[in-house]
Symmetry: C2
Subunit: 357 residues, 2 copies
């Protein structure tokens, strides 16, 4: 925590705290961040086969989950720490909190440590909007947003800026959440309708986004709500025992996911047999597989969040932090003049001479 410079010794690690991330997003503009992260995700997804991928490691407990999400190419390793605790509001804590790291693969040196709570909301929305841009009908203008919690503003703005959504229909079991979302979106160029049920909200829209938080097998969207040609962006069904879509919805059209081995365990797809057909989205981006094939087809993006999205977001934020000179240098690992003499770090005070009682 010594200086504000970004490149110093070979072992400096830049740390971006929450306050500094707020400054960074304010300086750059949230829309620029959403669009920029979506662009970076697209770039990295097009390099899909260059990455060493694994399903995340999840530690489940009664009230939530803590996860580590690692990924690497031959240059950089990244991981994200993230929790999901739907009942955290009773402690005044966010449902989702996250931070993450970029390190050099060649040496293992940690280079960039950052808050990722705000950044996860940005990358999740950017991923959703990028998928919808490729999978929803062209000229989609209206979206139902089911679940109006901490991530909903980011979804709304990403769909405005990346997909061209202009009309939003909101529903949440907690009307105060919808009121908060509507208030936060005032003056953002979006026509907003508050609805009293999911069925009312989804009627006639181009895109349905579900981003609810309950850790349960919920059935937010049922087949009779889904009209021909709709695109469904299922964000909240993202761990074992946590789903949002009726299995009949998945059977109505084409289903796309991020990383199949993870999505089959964590996504709404966990309800389906192991041979249920699904397409990894990167193959659509790369032109190797079909996306939407007709205006009447129902498309489903069964999003669970994948480490490569965090890798992309960390790279974007690292570059933005360097651009604005935002961040602190922290001493996470030793900047040791003689790396073979770790013990020498303790030497000056000879405190190691003290013996245990």
């Amino acid at each position: 925590m010594r200086s504000n410079r970004h490149t110093a010794s070979p072992l400096s690690t830049t740390f971006v705290s929450v306050s500094n991330m707020v400054r960074l997003i304010q300086r750059k503009g949230l829309s620029t961040c959403l669009v920029g992260v979506a662009d970076r995700i697209e770039q990295e997804f097009l390099r899909w086969e260059a990455f060493d991928k694994s399903a995340r490691i999840a530690c489940h407990s009664a009230d939530g989950v803590v996860e580590l999400m690692p990924i690497a190419d031959d240059q950089q390793f990244s991981f994200k720490y993230v929790n999901g605790h739907p009942k955290n509001h009773r402690f005044g804590l966010p449902t989702v909190m996250a931070f993450g790291l970029l390190a050099d693969v060649e040496t293992g040196a940690p280079r960039f440590l950052s808050e990722l709570t705000l950044t996860t909301a940005i990358r999740t929305a950017a991923m959703s909007a990028l998928a919808a841009k490729k999978l929803a009908r062209p000229n989609s203008r209206s979206m139902a947003l089911i679940g109006n919690g901490a991530q909903s503003e980011f979804q709304a703005l990403a769909f405005r800026d990346i997909v061209g959504i202009r009309e939003l229909r909101l529903f949440d079991v907690d009307p105060a959440a919808s009121a908060k979302l509507a208030a936060n979106l005032q003056g953002q160029g979006l026509e907003i309708t508050l609805c009293t049920s999911t069925a009312e909200a989804v009627k006639g829209v181009d895109i349905i986004t579900t981003v609810t938080a309950d850790k349960t097998n919920a059935t937010i969207i049922t087949p009779e709500m889904v009209e021909p040609g709709m695109h469904i962006n299922g964000v909240g069904g993202d761990c074992p025992g946590k789903t949002e879509l009726h299995r009949g919805v998945l059977e109505m059209g084409a289903v796309f996911c991020e990383f199949e081995p993870q999505s089959r365990i964590e996504g709404d797809m966990q309800q389906m047999p192991a041979d249920f057909p699904v397409t990894e989205f990167w193959e659509v981006l790369a032109g190797r597989k079909a996306g939407r094939v007709s205006a009447e087809q129902v498309t489903v993006f069964d999003s669970v969040g994948f480490a490569l999205e965090d890798f992309a977001a960390l790279c974007f934020m690292r570059d933005a932090a360097a651009e604005f000179g935002i961040g602190e240098q922290i001493e996470l690992v030793p900047n040791n003049p003689d790396p073979k003499n770790l013990f020498g770090l303790l030497g000056s005070q000879r405190a190691q001479l003290k013996r245990a009682a």
Copy 2:
């Protein structure tokens, strides 16, 4: 990075940098830390079945490995980030660098972020000495230390303070490493002999400790070097393709490990068939399985380093940091007055109104 207090808001995270860890170890005394961490490891190993355990996640590259090592009980989740890059000295970087975290399982809130490079050296040495205290012959007094790099001083002092070793015989392929180790151990109450080969160093000792760094299938110890009753503490063979002991050495006596599923992949045991007998050390501590059964038996502790040791070390260091008021508060996750309104964090400047070009 606001205050030096340890308990503040529900979302504060204490950060202990390398410099602060040096202060902490100097204040507490290295021996007290070695003995205290060994005690904590013993306590936690006796609660073995209370932990959600998994083999670490490793990302291998040409010159090294980056690993994440998670573990949790019903109260606390911990993970360590650690690399192993034997050629890092060419960049002036340590071979091993690490940091780690303790978080609340109930909420996912990150509570304690710490350097773990120094701490890993302490916990590895504490684990080795704890195992030797239970598995080596009682009244063991002499140890060969093969590999005199960054971890060797910690091994020497842990064996002095926990096992009662008074005589050390050193060998390293790099004589400068042995000279550094001997110099660092001056005045520490250890009788030191510099040797010119592994065979010379191990002749007649009670315990052999191997802590070499090459990422290769080396054969540091061969069967003809091993005398009846010796205890072998194999520390450096700790990932696939990295071994130190000839397979014949493992066949000479009883082999003990930390966490069997991990050790069969990473330990010297990777050379052995899947049914090769091994005992998890916690079962010896708990009195459920035999340790050494005779003065003539050869015992081998095939150590690879397990997440529970880091959990124990993090708990010890967290308590010590609190005791001395060492550490900084960092804003790793939002301390948000309205956790459902993450977007509100960005609100004051209305910067999010900016639209992407």
